[in-house]
Amino acid sequence: MAEFYIEEIKKSPRISRLVEHLFEKMPQIEADRAVLLTESYKNSEGKPVITRRAEAFEHILKNIPITIRPEELIVGSATKQPRSCQVFPEFSYQWLEDEFDTVETRTADPFYISEETKQTLREVYKYWKGRTTSELALEYMSEGTKTAMAHNIFTPGNYFYNGVGHVTVNYAEVLEIGFEGIMAKAKTELEGLSDGDADYAEKNAFLNAVIKSLEAACLYAERYALLAVEMAKAETDSKRKLELALIANNCANVPRKGAKSFYEACQSFWFVQMLLQTESSGHSISPGRFDQYMYPYYKKDLDEGKITREFAQELMDCIWVKLNDLNKVRDAASAEGFAGYSLFQNLIAGGQNTEGLDATNDLSFMCINATAHVSLPQPSFSVRIWNGTPHEFILRAAELTRMGLGLPAYYNDEVIIPALVSRGLTLEDARDYNIIGCVEPQKSGKTEGWHDAAFFNMCRPLELVFGNGKDFGVQVGPKTGEIKDFDTFDKFYSAYKTQMRKMIEYMVNANNSIDVAHAKRCPLPFLSSMVEDCIKRGTSVQQGGAVYNFTGPQGFGIANMADALYAIKTLVYEQKKYTLNQFADALRNNYGEEMPPVIATGLTTQIVKELALKGRALSKEEISDVYIKITKNQTPEDKKRFYDKLREDIEALPKFGNDNLEVDLFARDVAYTYTKPLQEFKNPRGGIFQAGLYPVSANVPLGAQTGATPDGRLAGTPVADGVSPAAGRDVNGPTASCNSVARLDHFIASNGTLFNMKFHPSALKGQSGLESFAALVCGYFEQKGMHMQFNVVSRETLLDAQKYPEKYKTLVVRVAGYSALFTTLSRSLQDDIINRTEQGGF
């Protein structure tokens, strides 16, 4: 049996001070990158786009202000102020310009922006009109797609407005041979090129862009070496002087050269991690299997007596802090969907090696320590569990869960490995998977997974069925028939499937359009240098250079649709208690309750338009009256009673999440309405689409745009997250909930599933609490569940934090696939977390 060093390693006092410094000020928006990027672009008009990207990257890295923050051991900051962000106008900018005056005061993820920065950015933005990936993507999209998007059936907002990210590069290679080694590989390929080769033009441009970008990254590190030397000269504290000298030495060596020590490996890792996020605004740049690729350096230093466990831990803790130093501003709507300033840098420990043996090592445990020491949302810390995971590792992970940070998330090798193999990965590659962002598995350094490609709201196509394809009077989906004609449940269900398939097709169209736009306007040479097989193929990741290519948009609302379709099947077709028309009427009227703003606005617009077509233009006052009337939705008493009875009858039906075989298998089938059609589509990089079933935090804002559903859910309220049962409907305890969720097909959702659970802290008390918790996770996994995450914080604490946010500045909670500071979340998302079913130990 493997033996691990599992003793507690103490937290250095430096770490608390670094964290304190990080949170001293509100994050701000900085303009340096945007200015430098634009300068370079203006000078490179007409050159190949890949060359322009490399030149811009070089210009930025040579000139962007650099800073070493107090007491840092690992250096490299993307911004002058901690936790601040640069902006990336090449992807999109209009939203930020529109939100200049509200970005500081909005509820989700506010950023400070100075008047001077606003002015600078306004100047910069002039250049970008018509040149962004976002604008190009829109040009490519079909009309039907644009209509479906406008009606919030799905939202591809992430890559539509930003870089793609969502990747784990080959860190191990950088650590081993350094950028000089990778540049040498590119040079070899260049030497192999003949002037007469058909693909000479693109390959030559790409490989030169790779070399230029890597050289720029080395120069950037060397600027830090010089800065550290200067700071050392001025430093009076002799201990810090020495630290700065070491930093100077590290930055002079890495990432240009291979790392010669654990400390150098840490520094080299960090430069890669932060520079990927300077080249592009894509988030979910995930460190992946840190415990694996760092281990050889740790082991060697430890064996040779060159490092203590304590210092190694301190360095890791420093990296954990730095991962919280990076930040990103999103548009107001996306900020709700990705709330909590999260960058989703997923770092995973444990699991199998490529040969299928357990790979847990001392660093796996030290990753748990670091997460506990730093207690911040980043990295999104995950653990891999399989049948051969050492029990002490699961228990240590459970102890971390008990701290209440929502970390780690648990992933099941026994499902993910075969799922990836079924998508064409080799067994060895599949065994070496890590997690990207929230829950998406990929093989590092070989994949362009386009995970997180869109949010698809599975409730909206059902609304289209009730409207014969119309939404607020507009024909969004196909005409699937009047509801009076659905005389069997099969006909009704088949109409839903037809709407689903068409909406999926539109989403694919949106994704592929955006995909092409990124390839045409923003290929990324720096990133591509660390993803196989780009250098060999002489082409970027964005143009299909990776070994494995996927697009993974995620569906959510399964629990609602399962419960909703089950209600219709039972109450309309089996018991014949209600007609479909009565359901339609109840949904239209939101079961007689008040109408939420988004829906009321939609209905008002529809009425105004219809009247205008009939030649009756409404005045402003009249429109406002219509809106108010719709919002109040005054229902006659007898009708309200009828609606209430309907909701009661719906409520009395069995629901997904209670270990009821019939309902659970029905839910499994409903999930297929998303996962199966999707996998038939291909992306422009030569890969296929694969479904994810998780919502990030979009189930709340997108729920706000969703009308009432036949499961009794009211209009505008959150939709169920991921594969979890609808909030409050799983009432038979955590094991029943797990058994139900495990009955879904997690293998087909190879882009990841997300199962949220909330525990009261008392449920994990003592050693037996930990053991029971571990058994729950393993029991769910044994039944082929894929992922689990937990909030272990009492309802009382969360309510108190809403009341007194100032007392809870660093209260971290699990949102969905990631953790975030509770007080930075919007009120509606906070409420959603509070309302999730809380499981206790009885």
């Binding site: 029943a736 058994n739 029971s772 729950l776 029991g779």
Partner: protein
């Protein structure tokens, strides 16, 4: 199918993921009907054998249903993967399971046939011959001893304790594993003297044995209203943590293995 699986009994709840009533993760089956009427009882709906109506949170529901052993086992076995990992299984609770001895025996037997760990929470208020029928299928007997004084016992529970104390003596010898559980109820048995008396008795019949002190809680109080009954312990507060610690020290002085909570 074997006949005993068709044995019918009356239960009022099945609760999963119980982690405080026996080892590991367990499913508790609550049998309806009890011989005692403890004033603090947190499951007042368990006391009558008759099926009744209870209103909680504005909703009226029927408490109690008749089920076969087979039906119960189907529900219990759904959590088998969790039992296996923790050495968990089924726990019979109530009410008092001994009020439905044939059903209780059949349930435990079925659980054993399926390889589950078995436990019972019981006051042992039944003839020892009845209890002995359960023992071959029972791994853990979690037995309540509430007081050593027969009169006070009768005042608070409706019956005196002589039979139960005598049964405890038998069980100490005959049960595979006996744990004594003491609900610590202010105004009834929460003084050091009263707990000492219980501990003394336990150490006499089972030297070095296990004793669990379960602090009184009020979670059941709303149910009394829902059943249209009066809750007679409205005025008392749960014991403080410090007091519980003091009582724990007390039982440990008798050489017993003590813990707070199940």
């Amino acid at each position: 199918m074997q006949d005993y699986l068709n044995t019918i009994g009356r239960i009022f709840d099945i609760q999963k993921f119980s982690v405080h009533d026996g080892p590991g993760i367990r499913t508790i089956v609550f049998l309806k009907g009890c011989v005692l009427r403890c004033k603090w009882c947190c499951n007042p709906e368990s006391q009558n054998y008759e099926i009744e109506q209870m209103t909680t949170a504005g909703k009226t529901k029927t408490v109690g249903r008749d089920v076969t052993v087979k039906e119960v086992m189907e529900e219990v076995l759904k959590d088998r993967v969790y039992f296996r990992r923790t050495g968990g299984g089924i726990t019979l609770s109530g009410g008092e399971s001994l009020c439905q001895p044939d059903f209780a025996v059949a349930l435990l037997r079925a659980a054993k046939e399926n390889g589950l760990s078995t436990a019972i929470e019981s006051t042992a208020a039944a003839p020892i011959e009845t209890i002995r029928k359960l023992l071959p299928y029972l791994d853990h007997y979690l037995m309540d001893i509430k007081h050593t004084n027969p009169e006070k016992h009768k005042e608070f529970t409706g019956r005196d304790n002589r039979l139960m104390l005598e049964n405890a003596r038998h069980l100490a010898k005959e049960a595979r594993h006996l744990v004594i559980r003491v609900p610590v109820i202010p105004t009834f048995n929460d003084t050091v003297e009263e707990i000492s008396a219980i501990a003394a008795y336990v150490s006499e019949i089972m030297p070095g044995g296990e004793i669990h002190l379960l602090p009184y809680h009020r979670l059941g109080s709303d149910k009394y209203k829902g059943l249209g009954r009066e809750y007679k312990m409205e005025h008392i507060s749960p014991p403080t943590d410090e007091h519980m610690e003091k009582l724990l020290e007390t039982v440990k002085k008798f050489g017993l293995q003590g813990q707070i909570g199940g």
